[in-house]
Subunit: 233 residues, 2 copies
């Protein structure tokens, strides 16, 4: 398939959520300015303190948004799956990025210049509402995360992280195996704990028959128990 036809296919099929909000002129503007980029596993898409210039659209693969903290400790803030948009917050806030984005696995992304997005929002109230809604959802999520990450104990935080992975990436065809295969270190960075404790606590959950672990393959055996631990334990 030619690059041109791939682009049109990608844009018309995969951008569905935003695409349906646009008129023909706007659609034209997008196809003319949309650029496809590919990233290798662990490749950085943008970094904290960079100036935001593009709206990023994840078309294929998985992306993590994270923040580097003290002593190399990293906190994963959000996970993205196709088709989701990110990278716009800092532009709207008129400030540099406060977090970084990198590809979890080989990924394909599209970009649109934020200046273009801005002018389209000016002329399309649905698009404005799309971003108001996204920002509002994310803000509620971050506010909640502040409390859970600071107040829940290790088991509760890990259980919550596993549930987040279920909700974000779902299961393989067996309906049990998590459709994401991440290093223990990333599990730790998601749950605000050290790698050692992520390993220890995963082992404990396996011993308790809540999950099974085979390398990076995690099967959820007792999701109800997991939700209970997340809520209380």
């Amino acid at each position: 398939m030619s690059i041109k036809s791939t682009l049109e296919k990608v844009i018309s099929e995969d951008l569905a959520e935003i695409w349906s909000l646009l008129n023909p002129d706007e659609k034209r503007l997008i196809t003319d300015n949309f650029e496809i980029h590919t990233f290798k596993k662990n490749q950085i898409i943008y970094a904290e303190k960079d100036d935001p210039a593009y709206l990023w659209c994840l078309l294929k693969g998985k992306v993590k948004l994270y923040k580097d903290g003290i002593g190399g400790r990293q906190q994963i803030l959000r996970l993205y799956r196709p088709i989701q948009y990110f990278g716009y917050r800092a532009y709207f806030a008129n400030e540099p990025y406060v977090s970084s984005a990198s590809a979890f696995e080989p990924s394909t992304l599209g970009t649109l210049p934020m200046a273009l997005v801005k002018s389209m929002i000016d002329n399309n109230r649905d698009l404005a509402w799309f971003f108001i809604h996204e920002l509002s959802k994310n803000l509620g999520g971050s506010d909640t995360k502040i409390v859970t990450l600071t107040q829940k104990h290790i088991r509760g935080r890990l259980a919550e992280a596993l549930i987040l992975l279920i909700d974000n990436y779902g299961f393989e065809d067996d309906g049990k195996t998590l459709k994401i295969y991440m290093a223990r270190e990333d599990v730790a960075n998601l749950s605000n704990m050290t790698t050692s404790n992520a390993i220890r606590t995963l082992s404990a959950f396996a011993q308790e028959r809540i999950i099974t672990v085979d390398g990076r393959r995690i099967k959820i055996v007792d999701e109800a128990k997991l939700r209970q631990i997340s809520k209380f334990g």
Copy 2:
């Protein structure tokens, strides 16, 4: 002064930031639907899980946005001063409140029905941008808070909280005394620590001549040192 003229004065003078974005019809809509409410010290304005119905505008006093966590532990998420707006996020996200708001001291607030705000955003792109900008700033702040509250040590967290108080409420005329007088428990709830540790660490800072403490009156003696502690130690 009559209630009516007070209302007009309040609206035209104090709502400046949003007011200037509106046309005469919109201004009329606001004056007709704006309601003034007063709250006593520590009175709850709205609570987590309530359904959001109003845009709140703080006209006088101080308000804290907080979330109740585990074992009665409370995390203060944001502080408001006149003239600032809040209470709209949950409505835009189409979900119940995930946090509560209460008056720090006797306060005056105004409300506008969110349905009205929504229709005004539909017809006023500047108003849409106002909220996109606010939400984006707040989201960046919350994402940053996730990392500082989970990774910084007690002294760093307290130093950061004090700096937040400086930035939010500033100083009395002497240029040193914090213009907010909060219980040690609230200082603790702002910095993710126990009341005991807030007391201890404030005492330590006083001993080190970084601040002086006289009851709830806190004087910032060495702001540079405070910023240094916030950044590193």
